[in-house]
Symmetry: none
Subunit: 191 residues, 4 copies
DNA sequence: ATCTAATCGAGACGGTACGTCTGGTCTTCAA
DNA sequence: TTGAAGACCAGACGTACCGTCTCGATTAGAT
């Protein structure tokens, strides 16, 4: 008997209120305390309206995160790999320090804790990885990058330090952090 | 009225049963599902006995993890930095794939979710970082490592890719993963 | 802004479907489970169509009940009070055992639970009481009934046992139940 | 896995708080609005503590009602049936007007709405009926009451008017109501 | 026969309470 | 006094209906 809801009837206003409330709560009180009830209360919305359109709070936040990724963190191609990497990773570093960082942190917790949520988060992460690998593949063709390295590993070499520092160490990062990382790492990746 | 329990009357048998049960559950059903109640039931112990001696399930697992770290992952110093790094990081990679990996993953989730748990986990992590930095500092003195780099960042460059691949990407790693990473990265770190 | 709907445009088909569905559900699954949503679904009607024309489910059932009362349970006047009372109360006893009994039971529940519904139900009940008192008043004039008794009380003496047995005791009643009651009670009411 | 709770461990304090809260709410806001959540909040108790020991709110109120019946409404036997009936029914009439009346009204609603609740309520009601029938049986032996009448019916003749007036008519009753009823009815019941 | 205004079926909406589940604390009793 | 057992308060979970609202799509009455 459980019908599928009709998306054309959906209230755009509620959708935005819910996503905003979820993001705000995630920033203010953290992912764990961001309950569906709290989101509903903050958004001035019935719980059912959330359950009708999203399977979990992770899915709500994922919608925000997807939007951000699509609009804010594209990958440039100036022809100079190092410049492009620095631009993109610095943007990511900035994002980590912003509100969106709290959301992304929450989603990573969800992915680590819950296999279902992990799917969506990994999809998002893979999209970013694929984009990065695309730029790196170009660089391999132009001879800016060694042709014999596994691109997945290169991506991990570039983003791994940033994620390690942000998620695990938790130390405050200097603004030029990624510049230093690339300085140390880049020579080893050149042909 | 008795605030603190008397450690001399503590049951060593219960202590071990609790830690073992927590570790087993973490491996079998994951950190999130490893509730205090489940641990108590598996260990054949009252919940209060757990709460009396540990503030949270993270603390129980932390006790296991600390013990493992003390006994198993020393940092070698053969005089050849790259050999030592490869040995140690490969051991860590092996650990991630073992039961202890499930526990460590759980603790990292705890650290990300809960500031109190984060303290204990960070302390453990910092101990490893300090040890690594010690070996790297030696290497700087012997001229195997550039003297102008921030050692925290070097640690992140070395371990970041591994953590990224293990925690976030979730892809199956080739046995020689760390060898490839060090191959790609080491030239950039040499003086 | 249109407050009141226009009765001339009302769909008679929907009206009947709603009342029928409500009655059927009341019989089949009981008054409590007869929700507005269930009525709407059974009648193949939008919820709003119910709310537009009735203030509550009690009102829907009340419409059915009123119709039944008007058409089925008139009060006879043969000149012999006891014969008339027996005829009417036996008809009521029969009604209680029929589908309409389930509806009337539901309305009494509504009246007991909700003051607004109580108004309508009491009005209906009072109409029956007034009719009965009319017949009793005639009997007082003809000397069949003591003139010094409160007619409300007499009505309660006559119908009270039936309602008590039907609603509260719930025991299966012999067909001649009201005959026995009147036998026991009538002597006390004669002048 | 659902264990049955251990009654010896039960908190008497919570039990009383819950029953009191339920009764108070029933009096103040009516049976329908007396939700489990409201009872729990008023009693300063977790909802689970209610669900652990009672299957429904009706059961909570039933516990109160049973206690009242046991302690307050015994049936006298002075040797004069009419005096005894008047004493007992007047006490019941008084009860209907008191706080306990609101509770009893709620329980009757529950019994009418829900078959499970009906069991408990009918049991309580039957206990009262049995007691009354006992007194009436004695009266039959002493020749105060016709021997050929069904005692269940006699009980209904006596209490039916009162319940009808209280529950259904809802009119304010004169203090001497039961005296009048018995006056009108008693002659018909005498041998 | 056409237009137009309303009622219609449908169902999304903000809410309340449900009955269940789990978390961390408090209480009881045996050893 | 400890430890095992489990009842306690608290509150989030996901569901069912509430009564209101907004949609096209009939549909009946006036043009």
């Amino acid at each position: 008997m459980s019908r599928r809801p009709d998306p054309t009837r959906r209230s755009e206003q509620s959708r935005q209120a819910i996503v905003s409330a979820a993001v705000d709560l995630c920033v203010e009180i953290g992912y764990a305390a961001t309950t569906i009830e709290a989101i509903a209360a903050r958004a001035g919305v019935g719980k059912q309206t959330i359950y009708r359109w999203w399977p979990s709070k992770a899915a709500v936040l994922l919608e925000h995160m997807t939007r951000v990724r699509e609009t804010q963190i594209g990958f440039p191609d100036t022809g100079d790999l190092r410049v492009d990497l620095l631009a993109q990773t610095s943007a990511v570093q900035g994002l980590f320090a912003s509100d969106t960082g709290a959301v992304w942190r929450g989603l990573l917790i969800a992915a680590l804790s819950d296999d279902v949520a992990a799917d969506g988060v990994r999809t998002l992460l893979q999209a970013a990885v694929v984009e990065a690998k695309g730029r790196l593949a170009t660089a391999q063709k132009t001879g800016e990058l060694r042709a014999d390295v596994d691109l997945d590993m290169v991506v991990e070499i570039i983003y791994g330090p940033l994620y390690h520092a942000w998620l695990l160490t938790g130390r405050p990062l200097p603004e030029a952090y990624m510049e230093e990382v690339l300085s140390s790492v880049f020579d080893g990746l050149r042909p």
